[in-house]
Amino acid sequence: MNLLKGRSARAWTGFAGAAVALFAVAPAALSDFRLGLLAKYLCMAMVAVGICLAWGRGGLLTLGQGVFFGLGGYAMAMHLKIADAGPGNLPDFMQLYGTATELPWWWRPFGNPVFALAATVLLPMAVAALLGLFVFRRRVKGAYFAILSQALASAFAIWLVGQQATTGGTNGLTDIQGFFGYALDDPVNQRMVYFVIAAALLLLIALARQLIHSRYGELLVAVRDSEERVRFLGYDPANVKLVAYVVAAGMAGLAGALFVPAVGIISPALIGIVPSIEFVIGAAVGGRASLVGAVLGAIAVAWAKTALSEEFPAGWTYFQGLLFVVALAFLPGGLASLAKVLRRRGATAPAKAAVVTVGEAA
């Protein structure tokens, strides 16, 4: 029991530390421009929280989180575009193509702020539930699951590009002005968006932590490590995986929704195959089985992308790929496991049993 207390005390300290850093230190230390970038990185971290749960704990290599990020992002952006246009008017890009005379039917419900907000989370969850039901029941797993996710991300991005008149095509939904009545070009409001994002991230971390340490979290690890054995205990592993997958999708959806006011755009290029892989790289580098590792990894990789691609625009992609391969091949537990690995190296008698096998990568 002492151990339990120690663990939760450490968690509270970490949580309080993160809150101070996000709400006091960062706004004071960073320029408005840098704070805006941080808001964007925090959105990536929100996706990573879900990936930590689904991949790190559940062994589901979710290579298609861009789909859910995109669904959340587009749901939010559609509402904001309708609100920007004002009652009775069409969003600017629709007027530009001149073919539409009224809002397409599937845009209309998004005019309602409550519907749109709920849709940013519930729509991705519903899609994930439907997909997961088919995939997990049919016992599709490992690399096949990863490839399927990836294909879905690709298909979604291609579909969006094809629907130029209603989705903005390759450009996406751009030039978003307001956020529920607040003008987004005002630095004060941008700061507010940052705070909303920071609070949402902390909330998701708390939620994921509760799930990981619950009985469900223990069962999820059991499914990851020996699915067949769990089945012989009377559980249906498909349902166990489904919960993790759906929760991760909801988190990605919320991240996408908050990404839109922070950056002012959502487009197919932000949700296709490459961004989907980037979501996973952050978690892999930081440590997919550890919440702290996944979150800090996602922020660090997103930051490195901005910093390095400014300097070496062509080299970044290679560097990123290398990072992924090196992390998976030599440090499967990510940076979060570095201390443990080094400690074990230092110990004279290698403890075979303590190896942090985080399950197969695929």
Binding site: R215, E218, A222, G234, D236
Partner: protein, 254 residues
């Protein structure tokens, strides 16, 4: 307590018939040993009963027909098994392993909260299989024999009424075998136990009844003495009718 009743069980893979019309009755509270040469169909039989492979025929446990149900539903109707290689959740502690095994009937609300105390059946099982002191150790650090005991403990908290154990004493020391045998004896006072085993000494010490499988069929059935005296069994184990004790050679073969 319920017994197991198998009728005309047939399992084939791509034209090869692994189990070829097995009839088998295990009465409630029995401690039945299934023996037979490699490839006799022992494990496949257990696979069929637990839903892992498709089979024809009928498998009744109590009043319920098991064939055609999915693996987790068969498990829920009170049938549990172990595997030749112990499969426990290595990264979870002994206590967590048992807690998961006890929990297939838990509701969503219980699942989403933390485990705050040790459920009574888990505490009992920890004592029964003698792992109470290792409750907080990761299952991956257990010795081979201890893993087998943990698996048996998982079946106990799962509250199965029929235990199907696939070579539970393989790789165990003499003392561990003895302890396992006594454990199985205690368990079979309240549950029905079926053990696949190659170890003839172990079988002789603990079996209440024995079925010999050969080439997918039941060759002989009865008490240890009856089976050992059966000329057909001696033939299978020795290749020709011999007066030597069939079991002794089987030990060497295994």
């Amino acid at each position: 307590m319920s017994g197991l009743e198998i009728r005309g069980l047939r399992v084939s893979f791509d034209g090869f018939t692994a189990v070829d019309g097995v009839d088998l009755d295990v009465r409630a509270g029995d401690l039945r040993f299934l023996i037979g040469p490699n490839g006799a169909g022992k494990t496949t039989l257990v696979d069929a009963v637990t839903g892992l492979v498709k089979a024809r025929g009928s498998v009744r446990f109590g009043d319920e027909e098991l064939l055609g149900r999915s693996v987790h539903r068969i498990a829920r109707s009170g049938v549990g098994r172990t595997f030749q290689t112990a499969t426990v959740f290595e990264e979870l502690t002994v206590l967590q392993n048992l807690d998961i095994a006890a929990g297939a009937g838990r509701g969503a609300w219980t699942m989403l909260r933390r485990r705050t105390s040790v459920p009574e059946e888990v505490a009992t099982a920890l004592d029964t299989v003698g792992l109470a002191e290792l409750a907080d150790s990761p299952a991956g650090t257990l010795a081979h024999g201890q893993k087998q005991w943990l698996e048996i403990g998982m079946l106990l908290v799962q509250d199965v009424r029929l235990l199907l154990l696939d070579e539970p004493v393989a790789g165990m020391s003499h003392d561990e075998r003895q302890a396992t045998g006594e454990l199985l004896r205690r368990i079979s006072e309240e549950r029905t136990v079926v053990v696949i085993e190659h170890d003839m000494d172990f079988m002789r010490s603990f079996a209440r009844s024995v079925s010999v499988l050969h080439a997918g069929r039941v060759l002989s059935e009865g008490t240890v003495a009856e089976v050992q005296a059966d000329p057909k069994v001696q033939e299978v184990y020795l290749g020709h009718a011999a007066t030597e004790d069939a079991g002794d050679l089987a030990v060497r073969e295994a």
